[in-house]
């Protein structure tokens, strides 16, 4: 029940990565953070493609929609078309907070959306509460 929750952060902006690390570190006994900078690497980790080790359940994904290289929507489509990944939990991180873009992401079955400006201690506590009481999709 109290297994650590893995958080896969897909983000290429160093300042945003540092900010999230800062807030998640105090909860290291609940959360384990893995950081990748692009969608391709994220998919390789989620699929356990060598040389990557498959990310262990339970996990959730925090994902910056505006990544270079693989387009955010391409990444979400890839996830939803993969029978083993189609149910995984994805929270989108956004800078602009452009309603229309986020609404489009909901078409790909995202769980929710957070503004990068609000990734603070309360957000970390949300993740901890999440790891404690939520039932994750079956593996």
């Amino acid at each position: 029940m109290l297994s650590k929750m893995n958080v896969l952060l897909i983000e290429n902006n160093d300042a945003d990565i540092e900010n999230l690390c800062l807030h998640l570190t105090p909860f290291a006994n609940h959360l384990s953070l893995t950081i990748v900078k692009d969608g391709e690497t994220a998919l390789a980790i989620l699929r356990g493609q060598p040389p990557h080790v498959r990310l262990q359940h339970p996990y959730l994904i925090l994902f910056d929609l505006n990544l270079p290289s693989m387009d955010g929507f391409t990444f979400l489509d890839e996830l939803r078309r993969d029978p083993e990944l189609r149910t995984c939990i994805v929270f989108v991180l956004t800078e602009s907070g452009d309603d229309a873009t986020i609404t489009m992401a909901y078409k790909c079955g995202i769980a929710g959306c957070f503004s990068k400006a609000k990734l603070d201690a309360q957000f970390a506590q949300f993740l901890v509460a999440y790891s404690v009481i939520v039932e994750f999709p079956p593996m």
Binding site: C88, I89, I102, G109, G112, F114, F126, Y130, V132, V134
Partner: protein
């Protein structure tokens, strides 16, 4: 600036269960208004302001009992995601656990979280905290 009043649409056909949740949320969340309906159809009316119901003000969260009769919980979620104006709603599902195919389907339809009702009863504070922290940090759309 005053905090926005958060509306919670509770969809639960069991009256005892609904009252328990109502009191729990009301006592722990200061700036919340809870609207209780018993069917997915009523919920859609409340969200759209149709069927003689007042339109639910934004921002809102939805708490959905996943065991409504005749699988209407699924139908509700599907209709929600198909509607361009409601697609972005944040939905917390409350179920009995088990039935992995159901849980899988719910996550595929983009819910925030699946909560086991037994866990809710055992850890009510954790549940309230989850909702509070989510509503304080997440972007609840549409922002109007």
């Amino acid at each position: 600036m005053l905090p926005h009043l958060l509306h919670i649409l509770l969809i639960e056909d069991n009256e005892i269960e609904a009252k328990r949740l109502y009191h729990l949320l009301q006592s722990h969340m200061q700036t919340v208004v809870i609207i209780w309906v018993t069917t997915g159809e009523q919920a859609l009316h409340a969200l759209c302001g149709t069927g003689g119901q007042k339109r639910l003000p934004r921002p809102y969260l939805i708490l959905l009992d996943f065991n409504l009769p005749q699988r209407t919980s699924f139908a509700f979620l599907q209709q929600l995601r198909a509607d361009p104006d409601l697609r972005q709603s944040s939905v917390f599902v409350m179920g009995e656990g088990g039935a992995t195919a159901d849980k899988e389907e719910a996550y595929r339809l983009g819910i925030v979280a699946y909560l086991n009702k037994a866990t809710l009863a055992a850890k009510p504070e954790a549940f309230v905290q989850l909702l509070l922290w989510y509503s304080n940090t997440a972007e609840l759309l549409p922002r109007k």
